[in-house]
Amino acid sequence: MSEVPVQHTQWNALDFPDAAKVLLEDSQTRKNVQHATNVIQGKRNKVVAELPDWEDLREAGARVKAHTLRHLDYYLTKFEENCVRAGGHVHWASDAAEANRIILGLLRRHEAREVIKIKTMTSEEIGLNATLEANGIRPIETDLAELIIQLGKDRPSHFVVPALHKNRQQVREIFQREMHLPELGDKPEDLATAARTYLREKYLRIKVAISGGNFLLADTGGMCIVESEGNGRMCLTLPDVLISIVGIEKVIPSFRDLDIFLQTLPRSATGERMNPYNSTWTGVHPGDGPKEFHVVLLDNGRSPILADKEARQTLQCIRCAACLNVCPVYHQTGGHAYESVYAGPIGAILTPQLHSMEEGRSLPYASSLCGACYEVCPVKINIPEVLIHLRGKVVREDQATLAGKFSLWNIGMQAAAFLFKDAGRLSMAEHMGLVGQKALVSKNGFIEWMPGMLSGWTQTRDLKAMPAQSFRDWWAKEKAPHAKSADDGGVR
């Protein structure tokens, strides 16, 4: 295949702490994010409480997903065989560039100048829109939120409601400007009607559509897409050609398994008992839907994650975004701070792994480890456990480099480890600390400023000064006069 220019999404310009600092100053965005996540979370809690078997559903979902991942090659080839038998075409892409090339090749074959798109994070992940534009093809997002993002030249900040950081006045301004509707009102209905009119003409005219996919069904070779607005159904059924780009982890063994995920996904994602539309189809069906159907199976860093048994569960994710909505860190910063296609707790574990731990290294630290994400996850991904596992990985990798070995952090941590390992050393350090802190302690007994690298800590917090007598000294004197001296390990 001839070479085509491929554009990549480069988001990792800043590290999480720096990016978060910028966003923390944007009070409008924070207000919008907090409002939206509170509303969804409230609805989610209500409809989840309705199901007495919720825990059983989570357990079954987690088991089905874990089982599929353990035998991923088996289920993918089974899917392929059945999809092809039903008249579909299956393509495999190792990375973003390959996926872009495949899609571009198909679009060129059909001489497409424009394509309609259903919201898909995978397309965001491979930077598809930029590639299409660079090659003279205009991608048109049809999901209301994605349309807002696209017309506003913005980035999604949440993967279920990507424009939740915008309020309606902001949406109205974008639509007024981009759709040339100076008279447009700001009621949600006005905005939805504007989008309906703007897009309907495109659905009827454009002949190629691109989608993601929520589930690939191995036993039938079918696909399932879950949505609300009907824009998905428009793209799936009206054009002549449909191209779906789907991560390899989206396969499940059987059509029947949807009875779990169609209960857990909508309730977790939008707090509804069922989302307005689910579509399932298998290959091509004469007289119903596209005449040509392509699935691009995307690896792009997923398969190596399978090898890491502790982190493999990351791939169980069904992208409901419930973990974002409950996350106290996401609440404060919104999605853009993660500088990653996948935001929130799941982004914090998925992004660094997708990039072989080369990018997004600060993300495993973008969490308070409160465990709320694990509690809500409908497929029981233990995100805090994976976060800690990845933090360990980051540290070990850093220590292995020369710069890492001599970094202040590493030296500091090694020194701390050295001190904490031996009671005598620790008590000596405590006495030195008492002397050393004298100059820093303010009148109220707090340390408000520390020198050097430690100043980062005291910028946002005050530190209580060390007490004049350590617990160990107190214990040795008061409570254990007969115990041996602390130095030989008699006191731990």
Binding site: P52, P188, T220, F255, Q263, S279, S303, A307
Partner: protein, 217 residues
């Protein structure tokens, strides 16, 4: 080797390298079959309570709900259309003659393109199964339901549901769909909606804005 074969074997090799020794397919199938499914599979409600639940859910979505006996279907459809101010509906092939209320025009929309469907006043269809707990209608490409666009492009959808098509839980619906799982299938729960702007539910962005359901008891 063609590009595409190479790409395929590269991805599969990478997966296999990460997973290690593969199991035999019957061992995998057995492992799958052994996954415990202790979630609720069957409902417990009586027929009346079941239909009431279904109706409640539909009303919550803002759909219109009507009930009729089998003998009254035609007449009830007539009164629903009068109420909606419609002079007739499009429909897939296979809708029974008795449903076509007198005084209204019904056209077979099989093979209509999207432009033609866009001009119709609405669509009349039956369904394969309905789920009470979630207020969902499941349509497949069979007689009386037809291609997926039919229930999508027109702004109004009137769906006839027989009481014995209503199940309580999602798993019960999948049990009934098992044998026709490869047909194009659509689950419809209320009219098209979005909550993308300030989390306010807005009806009808792209799909039908109006949905009526006639339950036949």
């Amino acid at each position: 080797m063609a590009d595409s074969d190479l790409q395929r074997s590269t991805v599969l090799a990478s997966i296999r390298m990460s997973l290690g020794q593969a199991q035999a397919s019957d061992a995998i199938d057995a492992e799958y079959a052994a996954i415990s499914r202790s979630y609720k599979l069957t409902g417990e409600l009586s027929v009346y309570a079941l239909l009431d639940l279904f109706e409640d859910r539909l009303l919550e979505y803002g759909a219109g709900v009507y009930r009729a006996s089998a003998a009254e279907i035609g007449a009830t459809i007539g009164s629903i259309l009068r109420r909606r101010g419609k002079s007739g509906l499009a429909m897939p092939a296979g809708v029974p003659m008795e449903w076509m209320a007198e005084g209204f025009t019904f056209v077979d929309a099989t093979g209509f393109d999207a432009y033609e469907l866009d001009k119709t006043e609405g669509i009349l269809s039956s369904c394969t199964v309905a789920i009470a707990e979630t207020g969902s209608l499941v349509l497949q490409n069979v007689a009386g339901q037809g291609a997926r666009v039919l229930s999508l492009v027109p702004d109004y959808h009137l769906c006839v549901v027989f009481a014995d098509q209503v199940v309580e839980t999602v798993p019960e619906a999948f049990e009934r769909l098992e044998n026709t799982s490869t047909l194009p299938t659509t689950f419809i729960s209320g009219p098209s909606a979005t909550a993308d702007i300030e989390m306010t539910r807005i009806k009808g962005v792209h799909g039908p804005r109006f949905l009526d359901v006639l339950i036949v008891v």
